[in-house]
């Protein structure tokens, strides 16, 4: 604890570690890559609230790091947020704002509003000048009605009836643009969101695996994890694999005796 009183935070980004990183890079150390989510995330407003959708593939360059990750994050009981960009950034920023919203709920005694979450997110992202690589689709229902927003890494936001973000956003947007209309029912909304995510899954390399859906209405939220599994593992060998001696060709053999290097002596046990 830094003393009795909380001093106001000095604010701004601390660039101390950037000097260290530059120095290390000069010495030839390769920076570890970060896990980007590739991703297709979408949201739309229907007659009773909002539906959010996301794929479940997390990529590390050309490799799939997580085949079933969760991209729809909890912000408040009535607000959820899909995240695209760097996985660590989206996780950290949504956790942080979720925590701040909880404290705010205790202080005010009221349900959180979507614009509150929006403002907390955009202020944080703006103050980090785009270095926090989180592109979010934020949706929820509060006393003022259903809301859907997109938040960009530099801190700008849009308010839309339907939105898509991530590398699969164009594929998903094409589905929305052709089929979205106002006043969709719950089933139509879920179907449209699933179709849009599937478009991303099948047409974008950065997105794949399963479809997660979240339906938020006044007073009720349903998180439909793995609502659709369009990419099941079809072949798993039930016999298993065996690696018996002789299957692998031995090219050369070198034996190093360890015994002469280790000296074993009889001695008393360690004293207390």
């Amino acid at each position: 604890m830094a003393g009795a009183m909380d001093l106001p935070a000095k604010g701004g980004f601390s660039f101390d570690l950037c000097r260290r990183n530059a120095m290390l890079a000069e010495k030839g150390l390769k920076m570890p890559g970060f896990r980007k989510t590739g991703t297709t995330i979408v949201g739309l407003v229907f007659q009773d609230g909002v539906v959010l959708g996301a794929d479940t593939r997390a990529t590390e360059g050309p490799i799939v790091a997580d085949k079933n990750c969760e991209k729809i994050h909890f912000m408040a009981p009535n607000i959820y947020c899909c995240g695209a960009g760097t996985a660590a950034d989206t996780e950290a920023v949504t956790d942080m704002v979720s925590s701040q919203l909880q404290l705010h709920r205790y202080a005010t005694g009221r349900e959180s509003r979507v614009v509150t979450a929006l403002t907390l997110l955009k202020s944080h992202l703006f103050s980090y000048q785009g270095h926090v690589s989180a592109a979010l689709v934020l949706g929820g229902v509060d006393v003022t009605g259903p809301h859907l927003h997109t938040v960009y890494p530099h801190g700008s936001t849009d308010t839309l009836p339907f939105a898509t973000m991530g590398s699969g956003s164009l594929a998903a947007m094409s589905v929305f643009e052709s089929k979205y209309k106002e006043g969709l029912t719950r089933e139509e909304g879920i179907q449209l969101v699933s179709d849009a995510i599937c478009a991303g899954i099948f047409n974008d390399l950065g997105s794949g695996s399963n479809v997660d859906v979240c339906v938020i209405t006044k007073g009720k939220t349903e998180y439909l994890r793995n609502h659709q599994l369009p990419n099941p593992r079809t072949y798993v060998s039930s016999k298993g694999y065996s690696f018996t001696k002789g299957q692998t060709e031995v090219l050369s053999t070198k034996i190093t005796q360890l015994k002469p290097k280790v000296e074993v002596t009889e001695s008393d046990a360690m004293e207390e």
Binding site: M1, G3, A4, M5, D95, M96, S99, Q102, L103, Y106, A107
Partner: protein, 235 residues
């Protein structure tokens, strides 16, 4: 804190080895409105008098029992504004614990951290101790728990406790009435009777506050109509 003119602690030892400021803080607590807590076999109840300085005060705006986390609640005796500050700090600490460990804070940990804050204010420059004693009630994996935290920062786990004006009578009453296997509803009745003992005037659903937590682990402050039902059962 070093750049302030008052970087020395205002709470200093007396020749007899006592911290006089803390004694005075306890006096402030002792002149506050009575509050009490009872730990039952399947839950915890905390209650307090809610005597307002005038009939013109809007009693719906006053809430003495506060929620710290969904499964931990707190009540106080002493200075209201000091209580507000502690509630704010405790809530933040609970959130920080969750952010760090992704586990909802256990009751003992929150009590420990709140007590640490209270102790800090007895050993820092330019500040005075908090003029409140807290009764923290919670239900976690270790079952129902009730803790009392004093201005010095010391804390104890209680089966039943009282603080404030009527502390000695209330504690005697509780000692007689308390049983190990009490159910929560019995505990609520006992709490109401204990408050009634020392109450100057007529007790009603609008001038006491009751907070309970059952095995569902949801702390809630009872509404006046719920208190009225319990009052009627007691009469």
């Amino acid at each position: 804190m070093g750049d302030s003119q008052y970087s020395f602690s205002l709470t200093t030892f007396s020749p007899s080895g006592k911290l006089v400021q803390i004694e005075h803080a306890l006096t402030a607590v002792g002149s506050g409105q009575t509050s009490l807590g009872i730990k039952a076999a399947n839950g915890v109840v905390i209650a307090t008098e809610k005597k307002l300085p005038s009939i013109l005060v809007d009693e719906t705006s006053v809430q003495k029992i506060q929620t710290l986390t969904p499964n931990i609640g707190v009540v106080y005796s002493g200075m209201g504004p000091d209580f507000r500050v502690l509630v704010r700090k405790s809530r933040k600490q609970a959130q920080q614990y969750y952010r760090l460990y992704k586990e909802t804070i256990p009751v003992t940990q929150l009590v420990r951290e709140t007590a640490a804050v209270m102790q800090e204010f007895t050993q820092s420059g330019g500040v005075r101790p908090f003029g409140v004693s807290l009764l923290i009630a919670g239900y976690d994996d270790n079952g129902p728990q009730l803790y009392q935290v004093d201005p010095s920062g010391s804390y104890f786990s209680w089966k039943a406790s009282a603080m404030g004006k009527n502390v000695s009578n209330a504690k005697t009453f509780l000692e007689k009435r308390y049983t190990e296997d009490m159910e929560l509803d019995d505990a609520i009745h006992t709490a109401i009777l204990t408050l009634k003992e020392g109450y100057e005037g007529q007790i009603s659903a609008n001038n006491i506050e009751i907070g309970i937590i059952r095995s569902d682990r949801e702390f809630k402050v009872l509404s006046p109509s719920e208190i009225k039902d319990f009052l009627e059962e007691v009469e």
